[in-house]
């Protein structure tokens, strides 16, 4: 395990006061906080070698290009990809998924085909497929969930068929916390000749991830949930698939040659990186990966299991809290959604904010799931490497306090 006090010192924002209270940041599933090393990497870039990349032959440009490509290699290692040119930078996970839907999807999904997703998908891994299905007159097929919000693999085996072209599924639910059986789903997909895209927005920051072990075909995630800066998404795809796909955006840098009549595309990964990329933030993303590697993803996971176990126990002790998703902490990530009877989660969120506690409340970009759960939304506390049991205690205490205000919450 790691020294959490030392970790916390690396995150300047944790000294922040909110409403006169020390900030308790329990919203890392929305975006994580950033260590000093990431912030310093940005400053260093802008103060010392800011330049446009790839096409330059001056020193600043050469330094920026090299640093930029270092991140790509670090990411390759981080997700255990075979080739560095399989790593494509986008602006966020959402763009990465849209890219696949609009290129691979448009190319391969025909009328009558099926796209398989789950009801726990984030809108970013839901709407692109829904719209593709509408455009292509294909069918969107939902894998059913069990009581505790896990994918029913027996049903999945029946629903993933010869008609299936793409299976799109989240590695970890941003509402339920559920960690999905990607490897099993990949087998089912590959058995019928389909590909599987994994939405790793929640999974990659929290779980040791190997695309080779998962045996998936595409993986999308965002650096901002992974200690990195905002504005950097990552798409990993199998080389053979990426090579066969048309480009997504066209413009500078992604071309090989351009004439008035015709354009030929650059090689991977540049074919998919049109225009000036987010140079500074891609470079700073390397510091984020380094930070996680130094802690060790195993330790990150162990820390989260400990917190989640502790928090679930505490929430159960509050009486009428409804907790969604698996109750076994080893089967879920560091995200806990809950509700108190008849209380709107926004009110819970707002009252916690009075106590300096930042949680998220609402539909979490999962309206279809909210419908299934028959709620307007949930309150959601999410953890990362800098959170402590003391902070969980503060949360539980504040939830009790809230009772006095809303008169509905907990412990009556």
């Amino acid at each position: 395990m790691f020294d959490i006090k030392a970790v916390r010192k690396d995150f300047p924002v944790l000294d922040r006061q909110v409403n006169g209270k020390k900030l308790v940041y329990l919203d890392s599933a929305a975006t994580s906080q950033k260590p000093l090393s990431v912030i310093k990497s940005l400053t260093d870039y802008y103060e010392n070698y800011n330049a446009n990349i790839h096409r330059g032959i001056h020193t600043l440009s050469e330094e920026a290009t090299e640093a930029f490509e270092v991140t790509r290699e670090k990411l390759r290692q981080f997700i255990d990809a075979a080739e560095v040119h399989e790593i494509i930078f986008t602006k966020n996970a959402t763009e990465a998924i849209n890219l696949v839907a609009q290129t691979y999807g448009r190319q391969n999904v025909l009328p009558g085909d099926e796209i398989v997703i789950t009801p726990m998908e984030h809108h970013s891994n839901f709407v692109p497929w829904q719209q593709l299905a509408l455009e292509r007159e294909a069918k969107l097929v939902f894998l059913p969930l069990t009581e505790e919000g896990e994918i029913d693999l027996v049903a999945a085996e029946k629903l993933i068929t010869k008609k299936t072209r793409i299976v799109a599924v989240t590695q970890m639910s941003n509402v339920l916390g559920t960690i999905n059986p990607i490897n099993e789903l990949a087998k089912l997909a590959h058995n019928v000749g389909a590909v599987i895209l994994v939405d790793g927005a929640q999974g990659v920051p929290h779980l040791q991830t190997s695309v080779r072990e998962l045996d998936c075909d595409f993986l999308a995630f965002s650096m901002h949930k992974l200690l990195g800066p905002t504005g950097v998404g990552v798409l990993w795809g199998r080389e053979s698939l990426l090579n066969a796909m048309p480009p997504y955006m066209t413009g500078g840098d992604m071309i090989n040659s351009v004439s008035r009549e015709k354009t030929t595309w650059n090689e991977l990964p540049w074919k998919f990186e049109a225009g000036t990329p987010n140079i500074a933030d891609v470079i700073a993303s390397a510091a984020a990966i380094d930070y996680l590697n130094a802690l060790g993803m195993d330790a990150v996971r162990a820390h989260e299991i400990e917190l989640v176990e502790y928090a679930i126990k505490g929430l159960k002790g509050l009486g009428d809290a409804q907790i969604y998703g698996p109750h076994d902490a080893t089967k879920r990530g560091g995200v806990i959604s809950f509700n108190f009877k008849d209380v709107h989660p926004h009110d819970v969120g707002q009252i916690l904010n009075d106590a300096g506690i930042a949680i998220r409340a609402g539909h979490h970009c999962c309206q279809p799931l909210m419908r299934d759960l028959k709620v307007m939304g949930t309150a959601r506390a999410s953890f990362y490497i800098y959170n402590t049991k003391e902070e969980v205690d503060i949360l539980l205490e504040a939830l009790k306090e809230a009772d006095k205000v809303l008169g509905h919450v907990a412990c009556r």
């Binding site: 709107h344 926004h346 609402g362 307007m376």
Partner: protein, 153 residues
């Protein structure tokens, strides 16, 4: 914003826990629904016109404290007013909620509504506060159309 002052100040909590004009109107001039899909707030508003006067308003709602309290206060503010006055009231309330430059004072009879100013900082929640009011405007239009149809008959 804290428990002690703005958002959850007594007025709001009072209206939240004991919403006024809760319920339905059997024979309403109009029944309209308002939804805020982003936060899941839902309400049904019943309005009873008597010529140009809002004779009665009733609301059934499923939402957060702001939405509930705002609807409750609104119903108190507008019942008995002429449609012209209702529109003025709605305008005054909306411009208070949208004001970017500090607090706004409302006419004496609307003072209570100032309690909702605390949510201005939260764009998400401004919508919760406005939902009953926008639904009311819709209700008035629907009710007036209904009346016209009846007159023609």
């Amino acid at each position: 914003m804290s428990l002690a002052d703005d958002l959850y100040r007594e007025t709001i909590l009072d209206h939240y826990h004991n919403p006024r004009n809760r319920g339905e109107i059997e024979d309403a001039s109009a029944k309209v629904e308002g939804v805020n899909p982003l936060c899941g707030d839902e309400l049904t508003l019943y309005i009873q016109l008597d010529g140009d006067t809002v004779k009665d308003v009733k609301i059934t709602a499923k939402g957060c404290s702001i939405n509930t309290a705002s609807g409750s206060m609104m119903s108190e503010a507008v019942v008995g007013q002429s449609i012209a006055d209702v529109k003025k009231t709605v305008d005054a309330f909306k411009s208070m909620m949208m004001s970017k430059s500090g607090d706004v004072s409302l006419p004496e009879e609307m003072e209570e509504l100032e309690a909702l100013q605390g949510v201005r900082k939260y764009p998400v929640r401004i919508k919760c506060a406005l939902l009953p009011w926008n639904t009311l405007l819709e209700g008035i239009i629907t009710a007036q159309e209904e009346q016209k149809v009846k007159e023609v008959k």
